[in-house]
Subunit: 167 residues, 2 copies
């Protein structure tokens, strides 16, 4: 049975939580978040083209990536507060396509071990207002997150296939 | 009449707001936040000794400073998401003396012009939980903030005095 992406956004709160299990150990899920070569292959919805300008995933590093669709570009950027190997990533996140700058999100992604070589990702996004949070939810974020993790499942499946090129 | 520091923390919210007016233009208040030589002179309560390990106040920069009292040290650190000259500073903030790491705060400080060469600072702190917010309020943060801004008032007064050494 496929793993489900669960997004919880309680009414009148300025935060949301995303939970997703993976059929691989947390080390692989963590690596897919900090390795630009992997990150570019899975983040975002299916109908957007992803490009990474910078992904320096370490304490005090920064990132910047762009989603492109039909000639329109959507830029996302932020700073890493803490990148704790295989355990958690904490940082800021901003979409520069909003009507004004300064609506920043604090994100915390935690990677948990599960039995049988599986793992669980728990992400918390904290917003500067309930309106910012609701705007993000209404933007179709949930589909983008779900499709991204489905791409990540496929990436993990490819990594586990025997390398036919070297056979 | 002295300017008052107003801290507003509504019940059951994971944020707080600090408002403070200053009798100087916002450029001076902004500079006092990004210049380490000034920052070290005013941040924190009166009974702590302040030292700065790093204050690289620019987009993607980081900071680290330490408060010391009676042989105990309290370290604070974070990342700058955005430093927009004279207007706002957005970044993360963490106190490493908590029982566990990972309780990070998203802070946004806005510098507003007021008539007659005065200005208003508005700071929003957004926490990962209501409990984190309440813990910060109960730690005596308000006194530290108030005393810090009082030191900053004195620093501005000193800067406006004629330099007797060169007289």
């Amino acid at each position: 049975m496929a793993n489900k992406t669960v997004v919880i956004a309680e009414p009148n709160k300025q935060e949301l939580f995303i939970t997703r299990e993976f059929d691989v150990p947390r080390e692989l899920v963590f690596n897919a978040h900090v390795d630009p070569d992997q990150y570019v292959q899975w983040v975002g919805p299916n109908d957007l083209e992803m490009s990474i300008q910078k992904l320096d995933a370490r304490d005090g590093g920064t990132f910047e990536f762009t989603h492109t669709r039909g000639g329109h570009s959507y830029r996302f950027f932020g700073s890493y507060h803490e990148v704790l190997k295989n355990e958690r990533i904490i940082g800021t996140f901003e979409f520069d396509g909003l009507p004004e700058r300064g609506h920043v999100i604090l994100g915390k992604t935690t990677f948990e071990e599960l039995p049988n070589g599986r793992s669980r990702l728990v992400h918390q996004s904290v917003f500067m207002s309930v309106a910012d949070r609701d705007g993000m939810v209404q933007s179709g974020m949930e589909r983008g997150v779900r499709e991204g993790y489905e791409k990540l499942d496929k990436l993990f499946a490819q990594m586990q296939e025997p390398n036919t090129a070297s056979a």
